[in-house]
C-alpha cells in the first residue's frame, strides 16, 4: 500500500468555532474573526505565527477572501472546494503542509455564509452543461435510499420512519445541549413524526439538516512541536479521502442502501488510524447526517453496526448520547445546519472540546478518540472523507 497516512505526525494545537446560525446580522469578517480569535487564544498564538492557510468554502472566491479579512502579511492561502467535504479537505491539506516539513504552523479554516443568498436549502452552483440530467435536490437524491434500503432488508415503511425519526430526535436532543448549534431545542418524537413530507412518503422536513452560516478553524503543527507547545494537543491519526469513480451511477448492482464511497474507504481508514474495532474504540463520532436516512446507512458503512441493522439500532437507542455508541453528540448537521465549507472542521471541534473536558452538558467520560466523517454529492457518487483524531499518541 503506497498510501502510508500521517498517523501521529501532526497535531492540532488550537481550535475555534463560531456560533452556527441564521446570522443575518453577521458578516463574513465577523464569522472568521469569531472562530480565528478563539483558536489563537486557545493556542496562545499570534496570527503572524501561522505560516500558511487552507481555506474551505463552497461559494466563496479565492484565497483573498480570507487574506483580506485577516490582513495577512502576504501569506499563502489555498482556497479549497470539494463539495461537502471541503472542511475536511482544508484540514487534510493543511496537515500535509506541516507533515511535509514545508511549514511550521498552519491553519485550516472553513467558512460559509449561506443565509445571504435568499434561497431555501443549499443550492448548488450551475454547471454550463447540456443540462439534460433531471433537476433534483439533496432531499430527493438521498430519499432514494429509503425504498432501496427497505427493499434490500425487508424493512417496513413504518419501521424506517420510526428509525429516521429517532435520528432526528437524537440529534436535536444533543443539539439542545450545544450553545453553538443553530437549533438548541429538543423536539418531541411525536412532533418529528408529524412533520410535513417533502419527498412523500419517504422524507419529511425533519429528516433534513438545517441551513446556516458558520466558521470553524484548527491550528496544526508537527506533533513534536505541538507537544512542546501544550501538553494536550489533539493528534491526527488519519485524514482519508476518496472521490468515487461513478460506477454506482453507471453500472447495475448498486442497491441504494449505502454510501458507496464511505463503505469503500472505512476499513482502510480505520487500519491507518490503528482502529481495530470501531464500535468500542471510537468515542466522539461525528458523521455526515445531511438526511436522517443517510445517518442510518452510515452506521453500517462506517462499520458501527451490521449491514441491515442500522434502522433497528437507531430505534433501540444505540446511538443516543447515553447509548452504546453515541453518534453526533454535538447535534450534527441536523442541529448545526450545514455551512458547507465549515462543517468538516466543526465536527473535529467537538473532539477537541471533549478531549479537553469543555463539552459542557455533553461531556463524555474520558474520550480518547474522535472521528469526523463527511460526504459530498449523492449516495451513488460522492466525495467522502474520514478524519480520525486521538488524545494520545499511539
Amino acid at each position: 500500500m503506497a498510501a502510508n497516512g500521517i498517523k501521529d505526525k501532526v497535531a492540532v494545537v488550537g481550535m475555534g468555532c463560531s456560533k452556527f446560525g441564521e446570522r443575518f446580522d453577521t458578516s463574513r469578517e465577523d464569522l472568521v474573526m469569531e472562530a480565528v480569535g478563539e483558536a489563537l487564544q486557545d493556542a496562545q498564538m499570534e496570527l503572524s505565527d501561522v505560516d500558511a492557510f487552507w481555506f474551505s468554502s463552497y461559494y466563496e472566491s479565492c484565497g483573498t477572501t480570507l487574506s483580506t479579512i485577516l490582513k495577512l502579511d502576504y501569506k499563502p492561502v489555498t482556497r479549497i472546494e470539494n463539495n461537502c467535504c471541503s472542511g475536511a479537505e482544508a484540514f487534510r491539506n493543511a496537515c500535509y503542509g506541516v507533515a511535509s516539513g514545508a511549514y511550521g504552523t498552519v491553519m485550516a479554516i472553513g467558512m460559509e455564509k449561506l443565509k445571504d443568498n435568499g434561497f431555501s436549502g443549499n443550492p448548488f452552483a450551475p454547471l454550463y452543461r447540456d443540462n439534460t440530467a433531471p433537476a433534483y435536490g439533496g432531499p430527493a437524491g438521498f430519499s432514494l435510499l429509503v425504498p432501496g434500503y427497505c427493499k434490500k432488508y425487508g424493512v417496513s415503511q413504518e419501521n424506517i420512519r420510526e428509525a429516521m425519526a429517532m435520528v432526528a430526535f437524537k440529534n436535536h436532543s444533543n443539539g439542545a445541549l450545544n450553545p453553538k448549534a443553530l437549533y438548541q431545542k429538543e423536539i418531541p418524537l411525536e412532533k418529528i413524526k408529524a412533520a410535513p413530507m417533502i419527498c412523500p412518503p419517504y422524507l419529511t422536513v425533519m429528516d433534513c439538516a438545517g441551513v446556516s452560516d458558520g466558521c470553524a478553524c484548527a491550528i496544526i503543527m508537527p506533533a513534536e512541536q505541538a507537544r512542546t507547545r501544550r501538553s494536550d494537543p489533539m493528534y491526527v491519526k488519519c485524514t482519508d479521502f476518496v472521490a468515487g469513480p461513478g460506477t454506482n451511477e453507471l453500472c447495475q448492482g448498486y442497491d441504494y442502501c449505502s454510501i458507496g464511497e464511505t463503505a469503500h474507504m472505512a476499513e482502510a481508514a480505520y487500519r491507518r488510524a490503528g482502529i481495530t474495532d470501531p464500535r468500542t474504540q471510537l468515542d466522539v463520532i461525528e458523521i455526515h447526517d445531511c438526511f436522517s436516512i443517510t445517518e442510518i446507512c452510515l452506521y453500517e458503512d462506517l462499520l458501527l453496526t451490521e449491514r441491515g441493522r442500522g434502522w433497528r439500532d437507531s430505534i433501540d437507542g444505540v446511538f443516543m448520547r447515553d447509548g452504546k455508541i453515541p453518534v453526533n453528540i454535538d447535534g450534527g448537521l441536523k442541529s448545526f445546519g450545514h455551512p458547507i465549507g465549515a462543517s468538516g472542521i466543526r465536527m473535529l471541534y467537538e473532539s477537541w472540546l471533549q478531549f479537553h473536558g469543555k463539552a459542557g452538558k455533553r461531556q463524555m467520560e474520558n474520550p480518547k478518540t474522535g472521528l469526523a466523517h463527511n460526504l459530498g454529492g449523492y449516495p451513488w457518487l460522492c466525495v467522502s472523507s474520514i478524519t480520525i483524531v486521538g488524545k494520545e499518541l499511539g
Binding site: 454547471l127 430519499s143 435510499l145 419527498c199 451511477e249 453500472c251
Partner: protein, 474 residues
C-alpha cells in the same frame, strides 16, 4: 406501388374534462374531454412519440426524409424536423422540412412525402399540434393536443395512394399573428358558408371528376372539420352515409389542429380491411383530398399502441388549475431557488446522439452497456473500447424512486426514478404519465422523448420514462 408503409397516432395521457373547467367558472359543462400535452410535451415531443412508432429498430437507416407539420412549433426560427430526425436516429443525408402556418400543413406534408415516394424516397411525416383557445372560451376545451405519424414510400405498402386533388384559396377564418398564443376566429356562419362547405365540396367534386370515383367506392371518409357537428352535416352533403364517416374523436381528445385528420386516418387504418378505400379530406385555406386503398399488408400491421387503446388509457383527473399551470397561463410565485440555467448549446450538440437518439456506449471488451456514453469502461476500465449503444427501445425497470416535492416543477412532486435496463445500463430520470401511488420498485417502464425545460428560448429535449401501457416501443 407507393403509399403509407407505417402509421401511428399519439394522444397525451392527460385529459381535461369540459365540465371540470365549466365548474370552475360556475357553469354547467358538457361531459366531453380533451387531450392535454403534459408540461414537458410540445409539438415536437408528441410528433416524436408518434414517429418513433413508425420505425422498427434498424429501419431508421432506410429513411430519406423527415417532415414535420404543425402550427405550434416551439420555435419560429429553428427547425422541428431536425430535432425529430435526431430523435428518430435517421441518417444525416436526409431531406428535412417543416410544414406550418396552416391546418392543412398535415396534408401538405403528406402530399410532399408521397411525391417523394414517387421518386423512390422513404419519408417519415409527423403531424402534431397543441393550439390554445382562450380561458373560459369554447376553444379552450374544443381544442386538443395530439399527433400522428406515417412512413411513406414504396415496398410493403399498407395503404396505397390512389390519387389526390387540391384546392388552395386565401380564405381566412382562423388565425394567429406572431404574438398570439390564442387562436382568433371569425364568426362561424361565415367560416362555414363561405369557406368550409364550398371549398371542401369543390375539392371533392374535382377529385371525383378527375378519378371517376364516387362516394360509394369508399368504406371510410376522413373529413376534417373545425367542430364535430359540421363534419356530419358536410359528409351528408357530399353524399356519404354516417356509417362511412370516420369518427373525429373530438369529444374525447379535442380538435388536434393539423394532426386531427391524420389521427382520424390512423384510427381508420387500424380497423380497415384489405381492399377498403379511404377518402382523406383536409381543410384550411383550401382543401386537400387524398384517396388510399388498403392492402393485404395492413392486416398484419398493428401500431405498438392503437389510437383506440390510447383513448381508453389516460387520466381525466386533472384539475383546470393544472391545465392553466402547464400551459403557463398563470403568473407564478417566483421560486426561492437559483434560476434554471439554460443548456450550453456546444455541450448539447457534442452530446447530440446521447440527448436526442438516446445513445450510450457498450464496452467491446466486457460487454457492459453504459449511459451516458463513456470513454473508459466503468466496469472493466478498458480505454477507448466503446461502441455506440442505443438505449431507445430497450425495456427497463424501476430500481428505486422518490417523489421530489422541492424541485422546480409545473407538476410537483416530480417522480424521480432510477431505472435499470435489461442487458445493462442505468439512468436517473423522471417518470411521467403515471400516478404517484402506482409506482413501485420493479415497475416496467420505457423511454419517452420529452422536454426537460425551456430557458432563454432554448428547449432542452431529453429522455424520461413512462409506464409501458402508454405509447412507446414495447
Amino acid at each position: 406501388m407507393i403509399g403509407i408503409t407505417a402509421y401511428s397516432g399519439y394522444i397525451p395521457y392527460n385529459r381535461l374534462r369540459a365540465d371540470t373547467v365549466a365548474a370552475d367558472y360556475g357553469k354547467k359543462g358538457k361531459s366531453e374531454e380533451r387531450a392535454v400535452a403534459y408540461y414537458d410535451e410540445d409539438s415536437i415531443t408528441m410528433a416524436a412519440a408518434a414517429a418513433l412508432q413508425c420505425l422498427k429498430l434498424g429501419e431508421e437507416q432506410t429513411v430519406d426524409g423527415v417532415l414535420f407539420a404543425t402550427t405550434t412549433s416551439p420555435y419560429l426560427e429553428k427547425q422541428g424536423s431536425a430535432t425529430l430526425a435526431a430523435a428518430l436516429d435517421v441518417r444525416r443525408d436526409v431531406r428535412l422540412a417543416d410544414f406550418t402556418d396552416s391546418l392543412r400543413a398535415g396534408s401538405s406534408a403528406l402530399l410532399a412525402a408521397l411525391d417523394g415516394a414517387a421518386c423512390g424516397r422513404t419519408t417519415v411525416v409527423a403531424m402534431s399540434d397543441c393550439r390554445m383557445g382562450g380561458a373560459d372560451g369554447a376553444n379552450e376545451t374544443a381544442f386538443g393536443d395530439g399527433a400522428a405519424a406515417f412512413t411513406v414510400g414504396g415496398g410493403k405498402v399498407l395503404a396505397e395512394l390512389l390519387d389526390s386533388y387540391s384546392v388552395g384559396v386565401d380564405f381566412p377564418d382562423q388565425w394567429r399573428d406572431r404574438q398570439d398564443r390564442i387562436v382568433r376566429s371569425w364568426d362561424v356562419r361565415y367560416a362555414l358558408t363561405l369557406g368550409y362547405e364550398p371549398l371542401v365540396k369543390e375539392a371533392v367534386a374535382g377529385f371525383f371528376q378527375k378519378t371517376g370515383l364516387k362516394p360509394a367506392d369508399f368504406s371510410r371518409v376522413i373529413l376534417y372539420a373545425h367542430e364535430k357537428r359540421h363534419q356530419a352535416a358536410l359528409a351528408a352533403q357530399l353524399g356519404f352515409s354516417q356509417n362511412q364517416l370516420q369518427p373525429c374523436m373530438y369529444e374525447r381528445i379535442g380538435n388536434t389542429g393539423c394532426a386531427a385528420a391524420p389521427l382520424m386516418l390512423t384510427a381508420a387504418l387500424e380497423t380497415a380491411a384489405p381492399g377498403n378505400r379511404l377518402l382523406y379530406i383536409a381543410y384550411g385555406e383550401g382543401c386537400d383530398v387524398l384517396a388510399f386503398r388498403v392492402t393485404e399488408n395492413n392486416a398484419a400491421y398493428r401500431p405498438a399502441v392503437s389510437v383506440q387503446d390510447q383513448l381508453k388509457a389516460g387520466s381525466d383527473a386533472m384539475s383546470y388549475a393544472k391545465y392553466l399551470k402547464w400551459k403557463q397561463l398563470l403568473a407564478f410565485e417566483p421560486q426561492k431557488r437559483p434560476p434554471q440555467e439554460r443548456s450550453s448549446l456546444p455541450d448539447y450538440f457534442r452530446n447530440y446522439k446521447k440527448n436526442t437518439a438516446f445513445y450510450g456506449s457498450r464496452c467491446r471488451k466486457c460487454g457492459t452497456p453504459q449511459f451516458p456514453p463513456q470513454r473508459i469502461c466503468a466496469k472493466c476500465g478498458a480505454w477507448d473500447q466503446m461502441e455506440p449503444y442505443r438505449f431507445y427501445g430497450r425495456s427497463a425497470r424501476v430500481k428505486t424512486f422518490t417523489l421530489d416535492g422541492l424541485s422546480l416543477s409545473l407538476d410537483s412532486p416530480n417522480n424521480l426514478v432510477v431505472i435499470e435496463f435489461e442487458g445493462g445500463g442505468k439512468l436517473m430520470t423522471f417518470l411521467v404519465d403515471c400516478e404517484a401511488e402506482d409506482i413501485y420498485v420493479g415497475m416496467p417502464v420505457m423511454p419517452v422523448f420529452r422536454k426537460m425545460f425551456t430557458e432563454n428560448g432554448i428547449s432542452t429535449y431529453f429522455w424520461k420514462v413512462a409506464p409501458i401501457h402508454h405509447g412507446g416501443e414495447q
